[in-house]
């Protein structure tokens, strides 16, 4: 099952949550090595929570997570340190350190964990920034960049240690369709070039269709689907079909049945300034 370079991620009887509150229970899935697995689901269904547990930011409430042959519950402190150095993570908004320039942000893991000299670090950082098209922005600070650029910079930082595992939390959220498609393309190129295991948390169906090999769908506090993308596309399950076809749940909107706002209740009479608008 486990390959050295591109390990599988096994989730077995996993319950994730905060404190004593379970958010998602009974997760059984294998996120295959060397592939892109997309964890899909509506807002607040527990996608990011699951990701944070895989990243060892929180201990699971029950069950176990295996990365390659390593059971995270049994791994000692040093083992966890070493495993973290083999993981790259792209956070939702990049999570770049605001006090450091882009170059210093990307160089941070190298400065902390390697004995490379500054010249080699700079060259390597420039290579990774070139990979995401940001090599000209080495000295810029995160607040001088757009949201898409911050995400790409976060990706460069996640890639700088050449990890066999890459995790992305909502990489395309908040981006325009062209930038989102470019980022998807970049993830596909990275998978092809570096033979990585990627886990992408998303609610973006277009993105899922573009990049996913394997899909796990979460909802109602459990796993609704776990399998290949083509199998998901062919599903006949009502909820999943509505989700995939972007159909709203049937309901009577109270907005449509409510009387319109009486403008006499407004504190300022805008008709004096705007006329009848």
């Amino acid at each position: 099952m486990a390959r050295d370079k591109t390990p599988d991620i096994l989730l077995e009887g996993l319950t994730v949550g905060y404190g004593k509150t379970a958010v998602v229970s009974g997760i059984d899935a294998v996120l295959p090595g060397g592939k892109i697995s997309v964890i899909l689901g509506g807002s607040g269904c527990g996608k990011s929570t699951l990701l944070k547990h895989i990243l060892m930011l929180h201990p699971p409430l029950a069950g176990r997570i295996m990365i390659g042959s390593h059971d995270l519950n049994k791994l000692d402190r040093r083992g966890k340190h070493c495993l973290r150095q083999r993981m790259g993570v792209l956070f939702q908004d990049g999570a770049l350190l605001g006090s450091l320039s882009l170059g210093d942000n990307v160089a941070l893991p190298l400065r902390e964990h390697t004995r490379m000299d500054e010249k080699t670090i700079r060259e390597r950082v420039l290579d990774k920034l070139a990979l995401v098209g940001l090599d000209e922005f080495y000295d810029y600070y995160p607040n001088e960049l757009s949201g898409g650029m911050r995400k790409r910079a976060g990706l460069a930082r996640g890639m700088v240690m050449d990890p066999p595992l890459l995790f992305c939390d909502e990489p395309t959220s908040g981006l325009d369709p062209v930038t989102a498609a470019e980022l998807d393309q970049l993830l596909l190129e990275l998978k092809k070039s570096f033979d990585m295991t990627m886990v992408v948390v998303s609610h973006d169906l277009d993105s899922m269709r573009a990049i996913a090999d394997h899909v796990v769908v979460l909802g109602d506090g459990r796993v609704l689907f776990n399998g290949l993308r083509d199998e998901l596309e062919a599903t006949t399950d009502d909820y999943l079909r509505r989700f995939l076809d972007r159909q709203a749940a049937a309901r009577t909107s109270p907005r449509l049945t409510m009387p319109a706002l009486d403008f006499n209740v407004m504190k300022r009479d805008c008709s004096k300034y705007l006329g009848e608008v």
Binding site: R84, V89, F91, R111, E112
Partner: protein, 268 residues
């Protein structure tokens, strides 16, 4: 269930909960301080970060310390001159100003000033990093956030507080000289002679020890409040950062005064 609800609203349950939270927070704060202290020496890279913090906490506080020190000294000069003249002891003005500053007001006011200027920004900086996932980003990069963010600040505080306190004392004595000697016509030679004659090494070292303790208190409380911004019950997001900043400043000031009383009892 009904029993559970009753106990949830009973004053004794509230008191018990608050006590447990206080004990838990105090313990967590000591562990936080212990980890930050150990990680000061974790790598050579810490030195560079510490120098930046010395600039931020120390150099950038000089102007406010000068201003507050000068006016504090001037006010003490005026008040002491008034009080001492009642007994015909104006000649002791220098000693009175210097001893008040070095033993008490210098360390306390310097610590409170740095709490307002640098402590609040430590809390806000770490709090914002917490709510924008930057602290999580450090953890997944296998960089200890306490070592990276707190240890350099702690080391810089331990360096800066005594130096700024000494500077405050000097400027304060100059302020006392301005009012006591130049404005009210006291004798210049007597002013400085009394300072030299009545100031003992134990006064100076007592003030120095106080400033070191205040450095640890202010830095630990400020960073702790920022680091645990996300666990606050009274607010979330940016509001939690502002609440944490306020709590950091208020708690630091209270602990400074509490520690000052205990240290004064023990040292002098």
């Amino acid at each position: 269930m009904i029993h559970g609800r009753r106990s949830q609203f009973s004053p004794i349950a509230h008191l018990g909960e608050a006590t447990l939270r206080f004990v838990g927070d105090t313990g967590a704060m000591f562990l936080f301080l212990a980890e930050a202290s150990v990680r000061i020496f974790s790598s050579l890279g810490q030195f560079h970060k510490m120098v930046r913090q010395v600039y931020f906490i120390g150099v950038k506080s000089i102007s406010v310390i000068t201003l507050i020190g000068l006016f504090t000294g001037m006010v003490i000069g005026l008040q002491m001159h008034y009080a001492l003249s009642k007994f015909g002891a104006e000649g002791f003005l220098g000693a009175a100003v210097a001893l008040s500053l070095v033993r008490e007001l210098g360390p306390v006011l310097t610590a409170i000033m740095i709490t307002g200027r640098a402590g609040s920004s430590m809390t806000a900086e770490i709090g914002v990093m917490r709510i924008t996932e930057q602290v999580d980003a450090l953890r997944v990069m296998d960089i200890n956030p306490i070592g990276y963010l707190v240890s350099p600040k702690l080391a810089a505080s331990i360096i800066c507080f005594p130096i700024l306190t000494a500077f405050f004392d000097l400027v304060g004595m100059a302020g006392g000289y301005l009012t006591g000697v130049l404005l009210l016509g006291g004798n210049e030679g007597v002013y400085f002679y009394r300072i030299q004659a009545y100031m003992k090494m134990s006064d100076v070292s007592g003030g120095f020890i106080k400033s070191l303790v205040f450095a640890v208190v202010v830095c630990t409380v400020s960073c702790f409040m920022g680091y645990y911004t996300h666990t606050r019950r009274d607010a979330v997001g940016p509001e939690a950062v502002s609440q944490a900043t306020t709590a950091g400043v208020v708690t630091s000031c209270i602990l400074i005064l509490l520690a000052d009383y205990i240290l004064t009892s023990l040292l002098f």
